[in-house]
Amino acid sequence: MIKPPVLILGARSDIGKAVAHKFASLGHPVQLAARNASTLEADKTDMELRHGVSVTLHEFEALATETHDAFVAALPQLPEVAVCVVGLMGQQAENERDIQAACRVMRSNYEGPASILAVLANSFEARGSGTLVGISSVAGDRGRATNYVYGSAKAGFTAFLSGLRNRLAKRGVHVLTVLPGFVSTQMTEGMDLPAKLTAEPGEVADAIARAVAGRKDVVYFRPIWRLIMLIIRNIPERVFKRLKI
């Protein structure tokens, strides 16, 4: 029996690749969508060899929201699961100086991902099934001086996913919000992250596959981050504004 396809948006990221491998290892064909998708040829061959599934490549630009309808229409098959991994951290200092850079971070973490998931949501709703996965971030749980541009866009995306879930809950479409803490990827390379709080992309991918199968709503990874963010969210603003975290 052929399993239904899984679409990965932002497939060149470490987390995206790990998620693609995970679903491929479970026997799902995968659709890898990214900018410069042809650079994923070697990964396509690798995934096909390892997992014996078919892998297709699709050119995708998250910020070109006007292309998103056509992008979805052109997919060889409407996926059963779509995972949006697109994101851009940027440099907080640069975002403070250069408003264009800041807007790019805002759009890459909120507007682009929300737009493509909105298009997919309508198709999934019409079909009456499917899972939409959005990778947001714990950074969206509270704005902090060190990365609030990125964090605020993620907060928007988290709220968008929550609303989407609320809208689609009765329409057979499952929406999963993934809130990673630290993950050891290209995005965080060179940062000195605490080992116990830092996950490998493969662990995140395993957690996502489990949460998709279990139709979970919101997943923090590692799970300890749920507690950490609960505490951080509950610090009174009066105190919080003076903290360096």
């Binding site: 470490d14 061959t45 690798d46 060899l49 390892r50 997992h51 290209q186 000195d192």
Partner: protein, 441 residues
């Protein structure tokens, strides 16, 4: 960041890089004054550490092609043996040669020219390698094989990353009918009996002995010699035969914290040894064991290196020539038993013939033991080094973390040739590890 090998000794502060493409890797090779490649860090000591630039290869890990007619797999160096098994065992293929852990990269297996339980029959990892691509100090890539550019091939297999960065390899897999091994155990009451058992079972595909290294006098060298064959389809009972590649996946246990150092004193080791010996003694008849338990019993306990406590541990592994093996092993085991520093894992194995410029194995026997790092065990290891040298033996660099340069030179005349080869090709100043510096390689 702090970096160490599997033994967690020594721990060094090192700068690491994780290139994700060959181009990114080339930029590092061209810009870093000197560097060493690192695979999955399963070498015990400091072979895969360069304090100024350690290049992690685990993101360069794609499989490139597979030919089901010949069983040849082409893959990038960062692919793990475990990935190869996961992908190809269900299709009837298994690595031709595998070390005692599946968490090694292809690059690490090639650089250390690793051996498995079938060395006496099939040789080291080298024997399944058709060709390799190696990046030299100028960023250029050379494809070499036993036929083409043979000197490069020879020095890279077993060259511990000191001839360049291995990028890709073509290896041949073994075709298997099932994922099961038929295991038989021979009880050997002492070393002589163990060696006789090895000599009498040269036809067995796999053989290895677990050795009770605290046995003294009549019990010196008491062993369980374990033999294995790939089970064929016909060897399986009907239940298993229906899905010959399916074995239960075991839950992984992990060791979350460091054991206190006293946990492994010689008493616990003695108790462990006795239990293991008698458990083994009850199950000597042939029985089926799944591939994972047979080849990788330790992999089931993730992070088992922590049971040795915070100070870490060292492994001693030597190879002795056949004609000196009995005398050498007797002397080594007597010295270890006298010191009473129990080893949790002690393994004895018959090696077959070996070629290549600097690979570890030699026709004879190999003994491997683990020790917690203490002043006492470090002193004992110096003694073991001397005994090995007196018997014409040599040491496995993938396990070494403390040997002296003079010891290496005295044990292995090839070390000087290897160094000369490095000098003449401009590798010495560019590809360096903490180990190569310690050993003046």
């Amino acid at each position: 960041m702090k970096l160490s090998g599997w033994g967690r000794y020594p721990v060094l502060e090192a700068r690491t890089h994780r290139p994700r493409s060959v181009d990114a890797l080339r930029n590092l090779v061209l810009s870093e004054p000197n560097l060493i490649a690192r695979g999955n860090g399963r070498a015990y000591g400091d072979s895969a550490i360069n304090t100024s630039a350690t290049i992690e290869t685990r993101h360069i890990n794609r499989m490139i092609a597979f030919d089901p007619a010949s069983g040849q797999l082409v893959a990038e160096a960062g692919v793990l043996l475990g990935d190869i098994i996961a992908a190809f065992l269900p299709r009837g293929w298994f690595p031709m040669v595998t070390p005692g852990t599946k968490f090694v990269t292809l690059g690490g297996a090639i650089a250390a020219d690793v051996h498995g339980k079938n060395h006496h029959k099939d040789g080291s990892f080298r024997s399944c390698v058709d060709w390799i691509d190696v990046m030299g100090p100028d960023g250029g890539i050379r494809r070499c094989s036993p036929q083409d550019d043979a000197a490069m091939f020879d020095h890279t297999l077993g060259g511990m990353g000191l001839t360049g960065v291995i990028l890709r390899a073509a290896i041949r897999l073994r075709s298997v009918e099932t994922a099961w091994i038929r295991q038989t155990t021979i009880l050997a009451p002492n070393l002589k009996a163990a060696m006789a058992a090895f000599e009498a079972t040269q036809d067995a595909t796999y053989s290895v002995a677990w050795i009770d290294c605290l046995g003294t006098r009549g019990n010196l060298g008491r062993c369980l010699v374990m033999l294995g064959e790939h089970a064929t389809h016909r060897d399986l009972p009907t239940g298993k035969a229906q899905a010959p590649f399916q074995t239960k996946t075991k839950r992984k246990l992990s060791v979350p914290i460091d054991f206190p150092a006293f946990a492994l004193n010689s008493l616990t080791v003695r108790a462990f040894n006795a239990l293991y010996y008698w458990a083994g003694a009850r199950k000597t008849a042939e029985h089926l064991v799944d591939w994972d338990s047979y080849f990788y019993p330790l992999d089931a306990i993730l992070g088992w290196n922590r049971i040795y406590g915070r100070k870490g541990f060292v492994q001693f592994q030597c190879a002795l020539p056949l004609d000196q093996s009995e005398a050498g092993l007797t002397a080594l085991l007597a010295e270890i038993a006298k010191a009473g520093s129990g080893s949790f894992l002690a393994v004895l194995k018959r090696f077959g013939k070996q070629d290549s410029a600097f690979s570890f194995p030699m026709d004879g026997y190999t003994l491997a033991l683990d020790f917690t790092v203490t002043r006492k065990t470090l002193a004992l290891l110096e003694q073991l080094d001397q005994i090995t040298i007196e018997h014409g033996g040599r040491f496995y660099l993938a396990k070494d973390s403390r040997m002296r340069a003079e010891t290496l030179r005295a044990s292995d005349t090839r070390a000087a040739d290897f160094r000369a080869h490095r000098d003449s090709h401009g590798y010495t100043s560019r590809f360096r590890s903490a180990q190569s510096e310690r050993l003046a390689l």
